[in-house]
């Protein structure tokens, strides 16, 4: 990794002059829009970029953003978090997961609370760290609570591959990998959200290929631009969308041509398919049950499947969110965080009532953190 210049990760994508020029180009072109543009940014990462860099302030009134269901923490229903807690509470167990998942409230508690109560719960930086932990603790059950969209799935598959290769017998998987397209379909099929364009997350497409968005323009009459996460990426994508509208085109375009192709990363897709397949049902928080919207371990890997092996201790009842929390409506693109009665009062990042406030990619969190000044 030593050749990697850390600077390359961000340099050039935040140049103020370029940002200003793009904002002006959008503003000029947007004058010709026949209808206001409601762009859904499917992914929480984009919500974050838009809020953090104050991009909306640079754009004309007739362009608005609607936040989508694209944050793996936000869409995790409470009963799945209860699973994680139940697993963590087993004797001689180490529970591993990623990022903000630790802080999301389940029905009664959260992993953070359980960790303080003495459970061995660890947030990983990279899923592959799980191997060392399993090797270091041969007398313990190590459970990896895997979360994420298409982006993080290959890491879990890579981990499974290693586990198989090295014959590690004490590492189990609780798979919560979800898929973007079914969720977008569900929102659009519902028909209530006023969305007439999409920004598609580039991270997802680096793996799955931009092809997964190809049906959208035709199905819903809304252009899709697959976009990177830097402010310049997002602005350029918006400009591409505005141009499509003005030229009366409706297509899938790739802004993030730095690394997205139509086909995606075939090797990763093959590896994922080796271990996982679509699961019949997965209940998304706020959106509900959707067939084929998540992945499950294939039959032949049952020996690693925490959901099957520890089935008898895992609660099965679906659990709904707090009555006042409108995360579901927000995830469906029908409301904004400040429409929620308890936004910023009873619900803040320190006292989150819903997952949209917990996850740093959640819409409520982004609105609270960066505000609209």
């Amino acid at each position: 990794m030593s050749e990697l210049q850390l600077k390359d990760l961000y340099d050039g994508f935040r140049n103020p002059d370029v940002i200003k020029a793009l904002a002006k180009a959008i503003t000029d072109e947007a004058k010709n829009l026949k209808k206001p543009l409601n762009i859904m940014e499917v992914c929480g990462g984009h919500t974050h970029t838009i809020m953090k860099y104050g991009l909306k302030q640079l754009l004309p009134q007739n362009i608005d953003f609607i936040h989508g269901p694209g944050c793996p923490v936000c869409i995790m229903p409470k009963e799945r978090i209860d699973h994680a807690i139940a697993l963590a509470q087993m004797e001689d167990t180490i529970l591993l997961t990623l990022g903000d998942m630790i802080r999301v409230p389940g029905s009664k508690s959260s992993l953070a609370v359980e960790r303080a109560n003495g459970c061995d719960i660890r947030a990983l930086y990279s899923p592959l760290d799980a191997i060392q932990i399993a090797l270091d603790n041969p007398d313990k059950k190590v459970v990896f609570f895997a979360i994420g969209f298409e982006t993080t799935t290959p890491m879990t598959a890579a981990l499974l591959e290693q586990v198989e290769k090295q014959g590690i017998a004490n590492l189990y998987f609780h798979i919560n990998h979800v898929l973007v397209p079914p969720a977008v379909d569900a929102i659009m099929a519902d028909g209530q959200a006023k969305i007439n364009a999409f920004i598609g997350p580039a991270h997802v497409s680096v793996i799955s290929g931009a092809k997964i968005y190809q049906p959208l323009p035709e199905k819903y009459g809304a252009p899709v631009v697959v976009s990177g996460f830097e402010p310049i990426d997002v602005l350029q994508s918006i400009l591409m969308i505005v141009r499509q509208k003005n030229e009366e085109r409706c297509e899938m375009e790739i802004q993030y041509s730095r690394s997205v192709t139509l086909e995606g990363n075939i090797k990763a897709q093959v590896m994922i398919a080796k271990f996982m397949e679509p699961r019949e049902h997965f209940r998304w928080r706020g959106i509900g049950d959707m067939p084929d919207s998540a992945l499950v371990l294939r039959e032949q890997y049952t020996a690693y499947d925490a959901e099957k092996i520890f089935a008898d201790i895992l609660p099965t009842e679906p659990i709904d969110d707090h009555k006042l929390c409108i995360c579901g409506t927000i995830l469906k693109g029908l409301a904004k965080p400040n429409d929620c009665q308890v936004f910023g009062t009873a619900c803040t990042p320190n006292t989150p009532m819903g997952s949209c406030m917990v996850s740093s990619e959640g819409a409520c969190n982004a609105y609270y953190r960066y505000g609209e000044i």
Partner: protein, 335 residues
């Protein structure tokens, strides 16, 4: 007697081994008359108003690029005094050591402490050593307390006024990023070194130049964001900061990009924020620039009344947003 390779429980037992640890190691490096008097308590002379502070250091890893737990234990406590306008004078040092800890490592740590003390001329005048069974602590914990004589009064988080200029003494986030790198063994090359350093010479320079200081704080845990938010809230003012003026090292920025953190939230151990009246701003900068650790000090913003209790970050391209307090625990984003 050949010197032992590892600390054993007997080193904390109060007998001969303890004695030799104290004499051969601590007295050797921390030597001064008060300490060598070896009384039950240090007898000190102080002439004016004093500031008193304490802090415990439990950093992991204990050795990191740019310092170690010992350097940190001195710089941390000395800086707490300095930030109150107090010249650091007397420190205590207590060690809680895990049985089996390498003696050489302990010596390295103690040496670093002695080195760091030179930057403020403060002395360690009393101390304590406990050795606990394996597993009872993670290698070594150090507590330092300190007393300093106040040379400049009235520095307070409650004293920011409209128009005050906000200065940061150097680039932000380096300690937090360096620790994260070591902890995760990321193997990314770069000049990423903790900023761990004693700030007293910088404060002395400000005092000597007769600068009025409204507020001053070292941006440790919670980083720049935490200090600015505390100030905005305690003084009921708005801090308006120019994002592009905040110095951030490239490697730190890169780490932030990798994990989805903000450099402003990362800890520093030798970087402070100073608020001074506008008329003194240039003089303050000039004074800071004369001191090695603050030679890159720069103005990042100003106090207004636009939105009381909040920190606003202005971008270079005309938008603005709040800079909020960092959350309790820094966790990497999921994707």
């Amino acid at each position: 007697m050949t010197s032992p390779k590892q600390i054993q429980l007997s080193h904390g037992g109060g007998g001969e081994e303890t004695n030799s640890l104290i004499h051969d190691l601590f007295y050797h490096y921390f030597s001064n008359d008060t300490l060598l008097a070896a009384e039950d308590a240090a007898v000190l002379e102080v002439k004016s108003k004093i500031a008193f502070t304490t802090d415990s250091f439990t950093v992991s890893p204990i050795f990191f690029n740019g310092g170690n737990i010992g350097k940190l234990a001195i710089a941390g406590t000395v800086n707490d005094l300095a930030m109150m306008g107090a010249k650091p004078f007397y420190l205590s040092a207590s060690f809680i050591i895990e049985e089996g800890f390498a003696f050489d490592d302990l010596e390295t740590i103690v040496k670093a402490m002695a080195e760091e003390l030179k930057h403020s001329e403060a002395k360690i005048v009393c101390g304590d050593t406990k050795v606990v069974p394996k597993g009872a602590v993670d290698q070594i914990f150090i507590n330092t307390s300190g007393i300093g004589e106040i040379e400049k009064e009235g520095i307070s988080a409650n004293h920011l006024q409209e128009g005050d200029v906000i200065i940061v003494s150097g680039d932000v986030g380096r300690h937090g990023a360096a620790i994260l790198m070591e902890r995760e063994g990321l193997g990314i090359s770069g000049d990423l070194k903790s900023d761990c350093a004693t700030l007293w010479p910088a404060v002395q320079a400000l005092i000597d130049a007769n600068i009025s200081i409204s507020a001053m704080r070292d941006a440790t845990r919670g980083g720049l964001s935490a200090v600015l938010n505390e100030w905005a809230e305690q003084s009921s003012v708005c801090l308006e900061i120019e994002e592009s003026s905040i110095p951030v090292n490239e490697a730190v920025q890169g780490i932030c990009e990798l994990f989805g953190f903000e450099a402003f939230d990362f800890a520093n151990e030798g970087t402070c924020i100073v608020a001074v009246p506008e008329k003194d701003a240039q003089m303050a900068l000039a004074a800071l620039h004369k001191v090695e650790v603050t030679k890159e000090a720069t103005i990042i913003g100003q106090v207004s009344l636009k939105k009381e209790g909040r920190v606003i970050l202005h971008s270079a391209y005309g938008s603005s947003r709040y800079l909020d307090l960092p959350k309790g625990e820094l966790l990497p984003r999921i994707c």
